[in-house]
């Protein structure tokens, strides 16, 4: 075959000067409000200022849990929100990360700073092996398969007591770095904050890259993506692995911070909680995911005064938000603000 492209196109070659970039350059004002620059700035600002409001260990505890959940949810949002693939088993990967850290440090004497990447690597390989067959499924079938994965992980952690300590859970020793024990809210707050900022930065870059474009493409128009030349299985597997690894990292952090792990961290309810955070904050919005994670971690704490009824009230709030804001918290609010702006202009 001689011709590589429809030959008619080459006639106009180079006649046109290349002006596209000029036309799209954002003003400094626009950059400030863009997701990448403005959003990152706001996130760092909030994280930096939050400790001023934290006065005791309990409050640090809640803030750190928010951060750990946010790492999982930002990763899960890549899979659920952007690529449109449901997972009801991500707590399983979270728990595997936590147990990897627990087991490798207590039983094999590995340093915590090495146990975390080792766990992440293991979970990444496992997620890859699982993803190849199950991501051929879609919709309800994919949800069922991932649910199965989560349940299996939960049962294994619960039953293999010789390794995991069984239902009683497992103690995780304090990590020491250069003779300093990493203990207490203040230290862990900054560790989790750093990992979270890194995660958000990674997610935003991934979404803006050609990979992100392919992911958004296969969401909703998978056949079109396939015939456009997108290797859809490859991208789905990749984003599944990335989200599983992030869950594992969050699990490891959680294990070392709370110094205790139980099989309940792999429970089905925990998986559902992560997905709920994604949907609540707003699918396909990284900052929505952050807000979803923060609010749904905080709300049960704030509602603790309604002893016995807090779950009911939480459910009610979630239902109301989803009825009034079906696209999730952040996308709805952003859409509202944009409309106001347009109306004010016209």
């Amino acid at each position: 075959m001689a011709t590589i492209k429809p030959s008619g196109y080459s006639k106009h070659r180079k006649k046109q000067t290349y002006t596209r970039r000029l036309g799209t350059r954002a003003t400094p004002m626009q950059m400030l409000f863009s997701e990448r620059v403005g959003g990152m700035g706001a996130l760092i600002l909030v994280i930096a200022c939050l400790p001023l409001l934290l006065s005791n260990n309990y409050q640090y505890d809640v803030a750190i849990t928010m951060g750990i959940n946010a790492i999982v949810v930002v990763g899960l949002n890549l899979l659920v929100g952007y690529a449109g693939q449901v997972s009801l088993g991500h707590a399983g990967f979270f728990a595997l990360g936590a147990y990897a850290s627990a087991i490798l440090t207590t039983r094999y004497g590995l340093h915590g700073a090495l146990a975390l990447p080792a766990g992440a690597l293991g979970v990444g390989v496992l997620a890859y092996l699982i993803a190849r067959p199950i991501l051929r499924l879609s919709g309800h079938y994919l949800a069922m398969a991932t649910l199965g994965v989560g349940v299996i992980i939960h049962i294994v952690l619960d039953r293999e007591a010789w390794l995991t300590g069984g239902p009683d859970g497992m103690y995780v020793p304090t990590i020491e770095v250069a003779g300093v024990p990493l203990y207490g809210g203040a230290i862990w707050y900054w560790i989790v904050a750093a990992v979270l900022i890194l995660t958000v930065w990674l997610a935003l870059n991934l979404i803006d890259s050609p990979i992100g474009r392919a992911l958004r493409g296969l969401h909703g128009a998978e056949v079109a993506a396939e015939v456009a030349g997108v290797d859809t299985t490859h991208y789905k597997v990749m984003v599944f692995v990335i989200s599983a690894v992030l869950a594992s990292v969050a699990g490891s952090l959680s294990a070392h911070f709370s110094e205790f792990v139980t099989p309940d961290s792999a429970s089905f309810f925990h998986s559902i909680l992560f997905v709920t955070m994604v949907v609540f904050g707003g699918m396909a919005s990284t900052f929505g995911a952050l807000i979803g994670a923060a609010l749904l971690t905080l709300l049960p704490q704030l509602l603790a005064d309604f002893s016995g009824y807090e779950q009911m009230i939480l459910g009610l709030i979630m239902m109301l938000v989803m009825i009034v804001m079906p696209r999730g918290l952040l996308p709805t609010l952003v859409g509202l603000a944009r409309r106001r702006q347009r109306e004010a202009r016209s």
Partner: protein, 233 residues
């Protein structure tokens, strides 16, 4: 360039294609016509690889691609404009085009973008808008451009005139004819048999999964059986 031999395909237990043969030579515009449910779209989907083949072979430039995945076929030079346009609705017009070039990188992609915009200035005007907000005709233009972004040697067009106003239908067929003049090889599936056979070098008539007629475009147009069944004359 494209040789289909004895192709069969099923949806579950229902047979959609029954031993279909078809060839498309280099630079040819071949039209595939037939009634609703004859298997035209299924045949195209078998060529692009999104529909499993249950028997027979698909050869592209002599190479057996019957079992190749859709994205490897795109890499080989087959692009499809799917039925119903299949936009990436929430993505911008430009992102849609860029996804068409997902397997290529570098400044050449930007050159191609400019050429598409030159061809259809309305797409340039709307390049920041979500593709879902375009009109049907504009979406069809975009779908064609998106397929062209992969530099196909064989372009598969599935019902490009479907659901469009008569004026737009003419514009689409003009576009297809222009692509042919530029020596793009085309396989066109259409319910609008008159328009399709009018611009095609050769045509095939598909009836309930079997190929019943094949001839040059003009001769099929004057064929009594075709006239009666598809042209309403």
């Amino acid at each position: 360039m494209l040789d289909i031999e004895g192709l069969t395909s099923h949806y579950g237990r229902i047979q959609a294609l029954d031993g279909v043969d078809l060839t498309v030579g280099e630079g040819e515009l071949v039209a595939l016509v037939g009634a609703n449910g004859a298997g035209k779209t299924t045949l195209l989907r078998c060529v692009s690889g999104v529909q499993p083949v249950t028997g027979g072979r698909v050869l592209f430039e002599g190479k057996d691609i019957t079992r190749a995945s859709p994205h490897t076929r795109v890499a080989l030079g087959i692009a499809q404009v799917p039925e119903g346009r299949q936009m990436f609705g929430p993505l911008s017009v430009e992102d849609n085009l860029r996804l068409g070039a997902v397997r290529r990188k570098g400044p050449k992609v930007a050159d191609d973008l400019e050429r598409m915009y030159e061809r259809f200035p309305i797409l340039k005007e709307k390049r920041r808008q979500p593709a879902g907000t375009l009109s049907g005709g504009q979406q069809q233009m975009l779908a064609i451009c998106r397929a062209l972004m992969s530099h196909p040697r064989l372009l598969l067009l599935d019902e490009p005139s479907m659901g469009l106003a008569p004026l737009l239908v003419r514009e689409i067929f003009d576009t297809v004819a222009r692509l042919k003049e530029q020596r793009t090889t085309l396989l066109l599936v259409e319910q609008n048999a008159h328009a399709a056979l009018g611009i095609a070098d050769r045509g095939y008539v598909l009836e309930t999964g079997r190929m019943v007629l094949t001839d040059t475009g003009p001769r099929l147009l004057s064929n009594d059986r075709v006239k009666e069944a598809y042209l309403g004359l």
